[in-house]
Each structure stands twice: as structure tokens, then as C-alpha cells.
Symmetry: C2
Subunit: 225 residues, 2 copies
């Protein structure tokens, strides 16, 4: 469940690009994480079938995906993990630091702020907002809770490009509009609503209730036989 903001009038070029399948992007993060773990465990060379098996992906698919990074593979050998990691980081854009703000100071935000994996990947949470006057001024995981009214100001100051939206469904669109107006570039939305955003703002939506429902449905299906 995730949808990027539009991509109209693309395919402008006369074609000939190596083709970046929209779906392979979904797997890049998984390759990267796995490679980082394996690399730390001392693995220096890896084959497409090893990667494929670990991630439940066809090995040809893995090669197609990785080919998009350039011809890094060594026939008869495999891929050098270090090289792959560097190339993946670059392609994914995580070879730099991303600054992100969090709106909504509930348990979900707390969980996100606490998770150390983000910092390792170059993500920094630089500000936390909540509309609840009771919460403003409190410090959560090292960040003071601030009024959403300050979003424009803070966003201008921190140059944060990403925002995590973990507010009630009712206020999600309103807050999103504020973020857009303040110049945000991408929103990770946890509120159970379909946000309407201009095309230049990217969107990933994660709806936890939907996920649980999907799981129930899978079980439901498997029980019907």
C-alpha cells in the first residue's frame, strides 16, 4: 500500500534508458539492508541466487534489478558487496543525510523516534509537533513538542525535506496542506486517509489497520479450503 504522487508527462525522452521498473525500487531497500548485514558478517562476494533466496525473489529478477546500477557483477564470481552497497546507497539517495520532522506526538511517533535504524541510514528527526496544548513543551525522545503553527518557521530553519504524519485521520489533510505550504518534499503518512497532494510532493502511505485486515483476509482465505 503505497502510492507516489503523480508522474504525468513523463516518458519524455526518446527511450533507450536502462528502464527502472517501478517495482524493483521496492526491492532496493531490501537488498541494501541485507547486504549491509552480510557485509558486516564478513561476506565480500554475493551471488544473485543468494540474494534471491534470502528475499524470496527470482535470481534473474535480482540480476535485472542490480543491472540497473551498472554492470557491477563479475561473471563466474558474483557481486562485491562493498561495491553493491555503495552503488545502492547512491541510487537510493541515502548516501547523504535526510532531515525529517514528525507531526503527532503519540506512541507511533515515539516508536519511530526511538528506532535507531533510521540514524544509521542517514535519517535525522529534527523537530516534533503536536496540536495538543497539553503536550507542547514536553520533551519526547529528546525533541521538544512544538505547536504546528511553528511548522513554516522550523521547516525553513532546518531545511527538513521529509515529514512523518502520525496524527488522527480528521486532521491529517489539514496538516498535510500546512506541510506542503511550508515547502515539504515528501510525506510518510500513517493516518488512515488518502491525502491529496500536489504532484511535486512525494507520498508513501502506511495504513496499519489495512495491514491487519489484509492479514485476516489471507487467513480467512486459507481457511476456506
Amino acid at each position: 500500500m503505497s502510492k507516489s504522487a503523480g508522474d504525468p508527462a513523463a516518458t519524455g525522452g526518446t527511450g533507450g534508458e536502462p528502464k527502472l521498473s517501478r517495482a524493483s525500487v521496492q526491492r532496493f531497500s531490501l537488498y541494501l539492508r541485507l547486504l549491509e548485514r552480510w557485509s558486516q558478517e564478513g561476506l565480500t562476494v554475493v551471488s544473485s541466487s543468494q540474494l534471491g533466496e534470502a528475499l524470496a525473489v527470482n535470481d534473474a529478477q535480482v540480476r535485472k534489478d542490480l543491472a540497473y546500477l551498472g554492470s557491477l557483477g563479475q561473471p563466474g564470481i558474483g557481486y562485491y558487496t562493498r561495491e553493491l552497497i555503495t552503488a545502492l546507497r547512491h541510487r537510493l539517495g541515502v548516501d547523504r543525510t535526510w532531515s525529517a520532522i514528525v507531526v503527532g506526538a503519540g506512541n507511533l511517533s515515539r516508536a519511530l523516534l526511538r528506532y535507531r535504524g533510521f540514524a544509521e541510514q542517514g535519517f535525522q528527526f529534527t523537530a516534533l509537533f503536536d496540536a495538543d496544548p497539553q503536550k507542547i513543551g514536553q520533551v519526547v525522545e529528546g525533541l521538544p513538542v512544538q505547536s504546528p503553527a511553528k511548522i513554516p518557521e522550523i521547516l525553513a530553519a532546518t531545511k527538513a525535506e521529509l515529514a512523518v504524519l502520525a496524527v488522527p485521520a480528521e486532521s491529517a489533510q489539514h496538516v498535510a496542506d500546512m506541510l506542503v505550504a511550508a515547502g515539504i518534499r515528501g510525506i510518510l503518512n500513517f493516518a488512515p486517509v488518502m491525502l491529496k497532494l500536489p504532484a511535486h510532493v512525494s507520498l508513501i502511505a502506511v495504513d496499519l489497520a489495512v495491514q491487519l485486515e489484509q492479514l485476516a483476509f489471507l487467513v480467512h482465505l486459507s481457511q476456506q479450503e
Copy 2:
């Protein structure tokens, strides 16, 4: 990002089924939520294009999806919301109560336990586990934290079929194995690892770090032009 446990040797029948696209299932939950909201607002009839517009889905796609529920549509009119809702609930398996347990008593679990949308959809969280001795005995959102050693016992008693896994990556596979041994039917995994599960246990994986990375990548891409 989600993958059901295998589905080998399927396609046994001689074909002829109305065809349930794996992807349309992803949308069923969204239709359902939207319809429930609109229905409460007094809407009694809805057209495929209305639904499509609200969810950014082609109207023909919506009709194809809904056709799988039977021929509920009224040519020239649309669909009766009540009928659609009932049919969707039945098809999704949420026209009954699902009992679920939660393993890992961190902030993410807290957020899930607190979210009221689950109860409305018939999901009940009946037990909470954590390996941290410090936490055992505490009461979180109304549920006492129990030792994972009690999983088999409690699972047998509560007949819970679903489990939410919100534990550190290191222990995720171990806990998953325990859950499987105890007879769980489906797992919603938040730990950043690829779980290996037997085919009869369904799996939905939500990796928050991957989602943020995907968002960064989308922004990264949009900035390259």
C-alpha cells in the same frame, strides 16, 4: 511490501473462476473503509467513478474489483452502499471477530493497542507478551505483559489466530517460530527481517525503515530533474 506465505501447486482447477486479482485484494480494505465513512454520512448509492476518484483508481478497475463480489451494481444507478459493505465485510472475513495477540511491549505495540479503529473492525487484542523481565506484570493499555513462555498456553486458551510481532530484529525469527509452534495462523511482522514461515501461516510484513527510505528515494528522484 508484503508477501503471503507460498501458494504453490495452486491453479489446480480447470479454470473458470471469476478471477481474484492478488492486487484487487489490496484495495478491498480501502473500499470498505471509504464506504463505511460515506455510509455514515448518509450516502446510500455510490458509483464506480466516485470510488475511483477518491482512491485514485481507474473506474473500470473499481468495477472489476467489485464484480468479484457478485453483480451488485445497478446499471444506470450505481451500487447500494449497505449492500457493498456487507459483501466486502463478508469477502474480507471481517464480518466476525478476530482475536490477536501482540508480542513486544514497546511504543509501537502501545500505538496499536490504543488505536480504536481495530475494535470497530472486529479485531480484539487479547494478550501482550514481552521477554523483558522488567516489563512483565506491567499493564499496558489494559493488558498485562506476560512472558513469551506463556504463549502456547495463552494461545490455546484464547484461540487467537493472529499475532502482531513488534520485537527487535534479533529475536523476531525465534518468536515467530514459537508462535507457529503454538498454532498461530497469521503474523503481522514489524521487525526488519524476512521471516521464514511454513506455508500454512500467512504473513504481512511492514518495515517502517524501508518505507522512509522509499520516500527519500522518491524525493531523490524528483530532485534529479
